[in-house]
């Protein structure tokens, strides 16, 4: 599997570290609402199909990437810098929608 890092270009999956569901939005740090926090820390979207994910190019430029990848085919349809387009800063996309 290859992921095309926006900085480094296409690289083997072995250079990347998976950081999971990119749809999660960290609650307001001042909030202590247990349900919100519980959902953030423990619950994950886990779709069969297009999935918004965060990967870190740990073995390269170390940037975190917002990746749209199909969990049925492993096909990567979009890769962007997370810090610029970080999924946590916006709501959840409709499943199947391309970034």
């Amino acid at each position: 599997m290859l992921i095309t890092c926006p900085y480094c270009g296409p690289r083997d999956v072995s250079e990347f570290a998976y950081q999971g569901d990119g749809n999660r939005k960290r609650p307001d740090p001042a909030s202590t609402d247990p349900e919100t926090w519980n959902a953030y820390v423990y619950d994950r979207l886990n779709p069969a199909g297009a999935h918004n994910e965060i990967w870190q190019h740990a073995g390269g430029c170390r940037a975190h990437l917002a990746v749209v990848r199909d969990t049925l085919t492993h096909e990567v349809s979009s890769v962007r810098f997370a810090r610029e387009h970080g999924a946590p800063t916006h709501g959840r996309r409709k499943s199947g929608a391309k970034a």
């Binding site: 900085y7 690289r11 250079e15 073995g59 430029c61 170390r62 810098f81």
Partner: protein
């Protein structure tokens, strides 16, 4: 000034090794620059940082990922978004940059002791490196002067193409000895000279 001790010392064996009867495929050496400095700009400040690199080293970096250049004394390349590795044959580069790079532009991190710089040169350099890295080393994909960040298993490596058949590799110092042994092992097949 106290000289830096090479981490390769006990395993650095100058001379010809491996299958060199039909010729030397690659030459391996340690570069030991005086300074290795990491420069990193805040978002939007990258151009200013590049201008500073230019004013200090006279190296002109093109726009775009991994762009780099080198002179007799300096080498510089981008290895991550808005991040650059700059080397100098002399010591003291970090201090120079610390004066030149205000905190509004970015940060300066001295890695002169933290990274070990190795050079592989020769007709078989691409072949030997391809044993260790999943990187396309052909000059079309990896042009002269440019740099990349990658890994060989646990060993994070930054690589700059320093010549048509020459690459400079920067590895964490603690891994340098293991990496050197691996590099020599990979070069056995083509015959190599350590210089």
């Amino acid at each position: 000034m106290v000289e830096q001790l090479s981490p390769l010392e006990p395993v650095f064996r100058a001379g010809s090794h491996g299958n060199f009867v039909d010729g030397i495929g690659v030459t391996l050496s340690e570069i030991a620059p005086g300074s290795i400095v990491q420069l990193a700009a805040w978002p939007g400040q990258e151009k200013k940082l590049m201008a500073t690199i230019n004013s200090v080293t006279a190296l002109k970096l093109a726009d775009g990922a991994g762009a780099g250049a080198s002179s007799d004394r300096y080498a510089a390349f981008g290895f991550a978004p808005a991040k650059f590795l700059v080397t100098d044959t002399s010591e003291g580069l970090a201090a120079t940059f610390a004066k030149e790079v205000p905190s509004a532009i970015g940060t300066v991190t001295d890695l002169s002791h933290g990274r070990t710089a190795l050079r592989i040169t020769g007709a078989k350099a691409e072949w030997v490196l391809a044993k260790l890295f999943a990187i396309d080393f052909s000059s079309a994909a990896f042009p002269l002067g440019s740099g990349i960040s990658t890994t060989h298993h646990d060993i994070f490596t930054q690589i700059q193409r320093s010549g048509p058949a020459s690459f400079d590799l920067y590895v964490f110092r603690s891994f340098a000895r293991s990496f050197w042994k691996m590099l020599c092992h990979a070069a056995d097949e083509v015959g190599y000279e350590v210089r």
